[in-house]
Symmetry: C2
Subunit: 325 residues, 2 copies
């Protein structure tokens, strides 16, 4: 147990009394999961699954690293969504943290806990599909028996060319942007609970959130000052960015996605759009044009007084707008 190649946990006691057949069946499971998550062979000199740890070619620039834990029934309603959705969402939401720094992913590892009898193939298929769609690889993992299904996803990435973009870099006078309209995930959950199809575009936004990796990469190279991903809703996350930067904000506009409510856009969370600030709007616009990235939406202005936190002139209460109604 306890290796980067897939391995199942065996307690010390059961290990000491296990037999050759058990060892073989453990190896069969490991090989099956490894074949599910390995969608393309590693480059020459790299190793994904099969040794004590994954070995990757050297990284360029700063190294960026983050972990997210997704629990079935907490982060995704187990009545409405499958283990494949869980695997997919666990990977894409973790990768969103690399997008938020402007980093390029270099590898993903999964730590899975599940009761025996859980369909691990389906869960890993969802995770592998997500990694492939994001042009990265699952390079290692660990499987363990436990109560409840959880997936801990760790992602690493690199930042060649310039530093990772922090939350703390916003400056007075910066324009505030989001990479897209908000509220789709919360609206999708509402619709799913009301019986909408799993293929409804808003339900898909909740099941299969998408990390804005290409956007984050290009925003970094366009010299933006501060950036984060919107996981908890603009009404909380904009305060966090302002806190980290020691500034205030004047929010003018909340772009609401079609089919979502204003409340969902402000505090529904899980949109994984990027929130960022810049002093050079022309450079941003030009880079998005040149890279064929949808133009981000301007939503307000950073101000120097950290006590100024307004939306259309009224105080924007932390954690969302609904508390003022």
């Amino acid at each position: 147990m306890l290796e980067s190649h897939y391995s199942t946990a065996v307690s010390l006691e059961s290990n000491a009394t296990s037999n050759e057949a058990n060892a073989r069946s453990e190896d069969v499971l490991i090989h099956r999961i490894a074949s599910i998550v390995t969608r393309r062979p590693p480059k020459r000199g790299e190793i994904f699954i099969g040794d004590d740890a994954a070995v990757l070619d050297s990284f360029a620039g700063q190294v960026v690293m983050s972990v997210d834990v997704c629990v079935y029934g907490v982060h995704l309603d187990e009545e409405l969504f499958t283990l494949e959705d869980l695997g997919f969402k666990a990977v894409t939401t973790a990768l969103s943290d690399l997008a938020a720094m402007g980093a390029r992913p270099r590898g993903v590892v999964l730590g899975v806990v599940a009761p025996s009898g859980t369909d691990l193939d389906i869960l890993h298929r969802g995770a592998a599909t997500a990694a492939t769609l994001c042009d990265t690889d699952i390079v290692g993992g660990d499987l363990t028996t436990g109560t409840g299904v959880s997936v801990a996803v760790t992602v690493v990435g690199e930042c060649p060319g310039s530093s990772a973009v922090l939350r703390s870099g916003a400056l007075p006078g910066d324009s505030i942007y989001v990479s897209g309209s908000l509220g789709r995930s919360a609206a999708g959950l509402r619709l799913a609970r009301a019986g909408a199809s799993k293929d409804d575009p808003l339900v898909v936004a909740h099941r299969h959130p998408w990390p804005r990796l290409r956007e984050g990469w290009n925003f970094r190279l366009a010299g933006v000052h501060a950036m984060m991903d919107l996981s908890d809703g603009l009404g909380l996350d904009l305060h966090r960015l302002a806190d980290a930067s020691g500034v205030g904000f004047e929010l003018d506009d909340v772009p609401v996605a079609t089919g979502a409510s204003l409340l969902e856009a402000l505090s529904g969370g899980e949109d994984y759009e990027l929130l960022f600030t810049t002093a050079d709007e022309e450079r941003l616009r030009e880079r998005c044009d040149a890279q064929n990235i949808r133009q981000p939406l301007r939503i307000g202005t950073i101000v120097s007084d950290p006590l100024v936190r307004t939306w259309r002139g009224e105080a924007l209460v932390r954690e969302g707008w609904q508390h003022r109604l």
Copy 2:
């Protein structure tokens, strides 16, 4: 939620109805855990906890990465051992996979699932102590509510100077070595169950296993051919090394730790000593002398025929010796 800085999981629904007080108390928990795990400030330009992801200075050479999941009650008996032991052991056993590659650790992230009411401070204190003792840092994490306590530990490291050492590099004629005598962890568990003190040296070996990072680093620089850590017992892991290398072995000696049985040394597991092979015993001996590392123990020879797997002339059955008795 879902950020490299410490964050607690809030379901979409509870998030949408949470209030300012909840957001504040979540921030209080995050700050407390962050202060527990941050034992030294990051270097200038690095960021540990507090942004979407950790940012680390560039790595030298190949990047090595591994994840291990430790479940309370599976990997560590919850009747006998504390949450501090769990945090400690989760980190050191994960770091052992870097030792097995000859890598130097650069960072650790924790994904913790626990029922509400769990003493998260103690668990993180154990993890932070382990990281500090191994001269590395906890640079990020995620906290989530769930049934059962589990800790997914992901470690990253670097390999300047030469490639990471794989399991697959053993060559016929190589001498086989282990970094120390075996069976202490299994003996410690046996003694703990019989009522021995938690401070008994063998019980400590089970509670607080130690990764052979300095040894692995120096064995790599002494040009060893193949290496892995002994997590499942020599009786299984030596077969795995031979499988990966396409070779056989003639095992002459099983070094049994004082207080352990031969069975515990062969198949107890969790010793986390390093198993490796080399063609240059003199270079190995000289480097260990120069670096003040205990001389490793020679236990046998690699042979070309992969079907030859013997211990003192008799077949060594995979997964241990006990099945032959």
